[in-house]
């Protein structure tokens, strides 16, 4: 069967800008009009940093794959590229189907808007049509447990209420591929359990999930396979238990 996510030789280079070298707008404008694009400044090769270095793997339909690794290993960069937020420097990703990402709970929320308004707005940002949100509205509210504060601006919410609502909106989106970054590290234990249940339901629905987490218990609970990243390189890919073992050896 055709893989749903196919990552081929993916690399991402970042420039580490040093604060000292200030560039004048005039110089930059000159360069801009000469080259026609916002090209990478020359002569700074030594300040480059490879967040991802030649990563290749694929994920089949309905699979739940975990991505683990220490801080700064490139997990979030990988998800950002898959989500289309930032382009890779080289290599490519082929995706079959509609993708949604939960990179940060409540990224689309606006503090001044009410919970109700934010549900619709967040849905629109993530590409969910209005009637779809309306259809799922009751379920989203029910899952988050904020019925009584639906018409209160979210700036008055507790942080727990805020993330519960945020997770709830994203989890109810209809998409084929779901990218999740640390979303389970939110809410109290009861809500975390609810999240795990919801994730299992999503998995049963046959959607493909790429799940980044430091919560190894959740990873081994949900994922059949795992990818281990260290320093931007793919260290191991395979059965979750093996992968976690390899990760533990590193620590």
């Amino acid at each position: 069967m055709k893989p749903v996510i196919e990552v081929a030789h993916l690399s991402k280079k970042y420039q580490v800008f040093s604060r000292k070298k200030r560039v004048l707008l005039r110089e930059e404008l000159e360069r801009f009009f000469r080259s026609g694009i916002f090209s990478t400044p020359q002569g700074r090769e030594n300040q480059l940093f490879w967040a991802l270095d030649d990563i290749s793997f694929s994920v089949g339909a309905g699979e739940t794959v975990g991505v683990i690794g220490p801080n700064g290993s490139g997990k979030s960069t990988l998800l950002k590229i898959l989500a289309g937020i930032t382009p890779p420097t080289s290599g490519q990703v082929t995706l079959q189907g509609k993708i949604t990402s939960l990179l940060e709970a409540g990224a689309g929320f606006h503090f001044e808007l009410t919970g109700r308004e934010n549900i619709y707005f967040c849905g629109a940002i993530l590409g969910m049509p209005r009637r779809e949100i309306s259809r799922q509205f009751a379920e989203i509210v029910d899952f988050s447990g904020i019925e009584n504060f639906l018409d209160t601006p979210v700036k008055f919410y507790s942080s727990g209420m805020y993330v519960r609502l945020a997770f709830s909106v994203t989890a109810h989106l209809r998409s084929d591929i779901l990218l999740i970054d640390e979303a389970l590290a939110v809410g109290d234990e009861a809500f975390q359990k609810k999240c795990l249940l919801k994730m299992r339901q999503i998995i049963r629905e046959g959607r493909t999930i790429l799940f980044v987490s430091h919560n190894l218990a959740a990873i081994s609970d949900l994922c059949q396979r795992c990818v281990l990243l260290t320093g931007g390189r793919l260290r191991y890919i395979g059965k979750t238990a093996r992968c976690i073992e390899a990760y533990r050896e590193l620590l």
Binding site: Y14, E28, F38, I85, P88, Q96, L103
Partner: protein, 272 residues
């Protein structure tokens, strides 16, 4: 359908397709802007009316009564108001859209959506204010018991469309430039202040010496405002060539602005 992510630029048809697919987002951004703007204000929407009226009063006093700028048979407030309508739309739209990417950095860094909706929505939302200030204009006409040419009302939408094209292009350009160089944020208020006086808003264009009228020709704002005023109050309408040139300049700005935006948008999430 397979979606391929690589370092290559997105093509224009793909961007247009995406914009069309997420047109609801556009509607929501405009709605959010309107919903947010007057939250926690006391007089709320009255601000929309208050601003052009206050400006008209101050300008009438300064340029009508003190400087005595000749406006023929037209009362000065009526003379200055249509220009201010267009000007306010322009300044608000340019200020808001140039900040739109930086102000929504949390979205840019965390979610993918066609980035172009941000400056475009920030521009379009000002049409609401324009409509309200136009209603105030009709009230002013009643108050001064002045009947303008019907041509003015017919010409107004056309002038607005050209202004919209110009503003959208300029706004998108400044929005992307602002991501890379925050100097833009300091230049804009200053540049707008200067432009207000370089554009025949508080004075008629014929007051400008022949030596300088050449420069007015390439300022789309000048042509839009001057021709709209002539359509409302003039005895003849001779402004088509000037207006045509303004439309052309606006289209060039639009193409360049959107082009620069689309070329640079892939770096937004990394730099903003």
């Amino acid at each position: 359908m397979a979606k391929i992510i690589s370092q290559n630029q997105t093509s224009l048809p793909k961007v247009l397709q995406e914009l069309w697919n997420q047109r609801e987002l556009f509607y929501f951004l405009v709605w959010r802007d309107i919903a947010l703007r007057y939250k926690q204000t006391i007089v709320g929407v009255v601000w929309v009316v208050l601003q052009p009226v206050a400006m008209t009063i101050v300008f009438t006093f300064l340029f009508g009564n003190i400087a005595k700028i000749p406006t023929g048979s037209i009362p000065y407030p009526l003379f200055v108001y249509p220009g201010l309508m267009f000007w306010n739309f322009f300044t608000r739209a340019v200020s808001a859209s140039s900040e739109s990417i930086v102000a929504n950095r949390n979205l840019i860094e965390k979610v993918y959506f066609p980035r172009l909706v941000l400056p475009l929505a920030a521009t379009i939302v000002n049409l609401v204010d324009f409509l309200v200030s136009f209603l105030v204009f009709t009230l002013l006409l009643v108050y001064f018991q002045f009947s303008p040419n019907l041509m003015g009302f017919l010409f107004l939408p056309l002038a607005l469309v050209v202004l919209l094209i110009f503003t959208a292009g300029l706004g998108a350009f400044l929005a992307s430039l602002n991501v890379f160089y925050r100097d833009i944020r300091f230049i804009i208020p200053f540049a707008l202040q200067i432009l207000l006086f370089l554009t025949p808003i508080v004075y008629p264009a014929n007051l400008v010496g022949n030596k300088y009228t050449f420069f007015l020709k390439f300022n789309p704002l000048a042509a839009i405002i001057e021709s709209a005023r002539e359509a409302f109050f003039g005895s003849t309408f001779s402004y088509w060539p000037g207006f045509g040139l303004a439309a052309l300049v606006s289209l060039v700005f639009f193409g360049l602005g959107i082009g620069v935006f689309l070329k640079s948008e892939k770096y937004f999430a990394d730099i903003v």
